[in-house]
Symmetry: none
Subunit: 198 residues, 4 copies
Amino acid sequence: MSSPGLRERKKQKTRWSIQEHALRLFAEQGYEATTIDQIAAAAEISPSTFFRYFKTKEDLVLEDQYDPMIEAMVRAAPAELGPVAALRYAIREGYAMLDAAEHERIASRVALSMSHPSIRARALDLFFVNAEQLARAMAPRLGRPPEDLVVSAFAGAVVGALIVAMQTWRAEEQRTPFNLVMDQALAVLEPGPAKLTG
Amino acid sequence: MSSPGLRERKKQKTRWSIQEHALRLFAEQGYEATTIDQIAAAAEISPSTFFRYFKTKEDLVLEDQYDPMIEAMVRAAPAELGPVAALRYAIREGYAMLDAAEHERIASRVALSMSHPSIRARALDLFFVNAEQLARAMAPRLGRPPEDLVVSAFAGAVVGALIVAMQTWRAEEQRTPFNLVMDQALAVLEPGPAKLTG
Amino acid sequence: MSSPGLRERKKQKTRWSIQEHALRLFAEQGYEATTIDQIAAAAEISPSTFFRYFKTKEDLVLEDQYDPMIEAMVRAAPAELGPVAALRYAIREGYAMLDAAEHERIASRVALSMSHPSIRARALDLFFVNAEQLARAMAPRLGRPPEDLVVSAFAGAVVGALIVAMQTWRAEEQRTPFNLVMDQALAVLEPGPAKLTG
Amino acid sequence: MSSPGLRERKKQKTRWSIQEHALRLFAEQGYEATTIDQIAAAAEISPSTFFRYFKTKEDLVLEDQYDPMIEAMVRAAPAELGPVAALRYAIREGYAMLDAAEHERIASRVALSMSHPSIRARALDLFFVNAEQLARAMAPRLGRPPEDLVVSAFAGAVVGALIVAMQTWRAEEQRTPFNLVMDQALAVLEPGPAKLTG
DNA sequence: ACATGCGGGACTGCCCGTTCAT
DNA sequence: ATGAACGGGCAGTCCCGCATGT
């Protein structure tokens, strides 16, 4: 039950430092224009060390620690809520728990990840990997196993709607608050999946 | 209105040749293991000429001529059908118009595009670009403008469901016919979007 | 006086384990495609520990404990035999002392070490290092000091003939027994070196 | 039969320039200590362009244009000469055709290629690739097909003797002229291969 | 106009020296 | 004090855009 150990903490610090410098440089010069060598120089590590911490340049943007949190909150949502309502609840509550600085951070992360084709592509891929977890979290509320196509396809639909919401939000230059757009997009799916007999 | 001209036809032939050789090599050695130099050598062009025909290696797999067709058929579907039903109709009819060889070709293309992370990522990105067209095609049946979040988010949801369907189909090693899985996934969204007052 | 000690034995075991896993992985995925990290993972050691046991990846294949044995047997061969005959005798006798499993092991080792350019190169280098020992072992039968160019060049010639034999054997997909090919190649040099007056 | 074209000539010049700078840097700082980046900088090309001209760093040292020459001269040697005598003749004549500067160049090339383990290893490998051509050139004088083990093993023996000669020559710090040592080593093999009945 | 060559940047893998933990 | 982890450096490969020559 000891603390993570000195080594582990130092690693986390380095990781964090790389990411901070990278995001700053991306903001300053653009994503493409920033090379890994520059990031490494800024973070005072060797370029090859960079790849110990992030497998690709894109990963700098795509690390997301919130997904498991959301999943947990969906499960913890009031039992009488349907799958979509539960997810909306989870996002609302989760978002409220973070401070303004963190909201800012998320917003810029999302904006960046939607802006550049190569990052966007990987981001979408990641979302659909997470769709599986979402399916597992929603399955009980649909009374079906998570592998059932009704559940997984519906989870995919939810993810699809959210992606469009993020793209819309970005295209509108983030006029509306991020969480609101997400919520509205989810509202569209409130009718839930068809009650199939399969 | 004259025929496309000799030069244009030669270009199409080269393009086709590149793609054929590439897909064969992908099948033989895997996607990653196949280099553009190998493809170029097989197609008897110089490596740099490759990029005149395909901007990236991934595009070799992702060319899809069917999307505009689907869109047209959604518009042409019987007026009494809802948005999802119209799309299912379009896919069913479109699929029936193609011969078995072409079905085969599509299936292997889809399987390949889902199999490798880097292609998959770009494929997903493409799907969401197409989501916009789908939104336009479905908008009339929802009685709302295509930019309305209800329409675009729902189109995104449809695309999301289809993506999961394709992944499932691939994960199951294509036991079920491709079109059937797609149809089942769409059935899940038959309830349509919520009638929001926004 | 005492047995090698527990620590030493454990080291040998680890060494052996690494090599076994490595050769298996080489056979499964090819030499190039196998990374040291994979080998380390399979042998359940850390990648850096690998280098405590083998200085380079190539050494995994090139460890050969038989060379000193051969040298000793050349010296021990009947005095009336010429240098080449003595070596053939040594190889014949040495080979006969090993069981079939060991023959198998040697054969696959040799095949692997000839197959890949980078290993082959190092293997050849090693052979010529051993040529010096061979020269020392053959010198008495030539009535000249081992540093004499007649002796050393002839030893080099012997090694060269053996190398070609190994490559031929491998190219023929090991149809003929390994030791036979070696013996035939040596037979070619039975006339021995010219009796120079230098 | 037009002239090689500007492009081609420029390529040759670049290739030559890279090699010159590299050999100079090797002489100044040693082989290991010289990085490809330094060579590229000296030759005023980008590091990646380096690899268009030389696949590996070792190739900088190992390019040898003389081997085909030797082979031709072996074939052209007087018919009454045996295989070894013909080769000695070819080397003697070939060497005489080059000027002192070129002798110097060859000598330093050989010295360098024997000095460093990784280059030496690759050099030896190259020699045995060339052994096949030597076998073809010597075959007529042995009255046997080039694939015959007698021929190929003897060619290997010749190569082996030459390798030892080069190493000896280098170890003695090049006291004796290069071509003389080679000739002496070959003299050792004048008896030729055994007349086997196989 | 069109192919080719070159630059450059991402990324991988090998290997070594040093630092840290047990 | 032994052994693992870590950082760094370098060779090498591949993709791809831009300049250059044919």
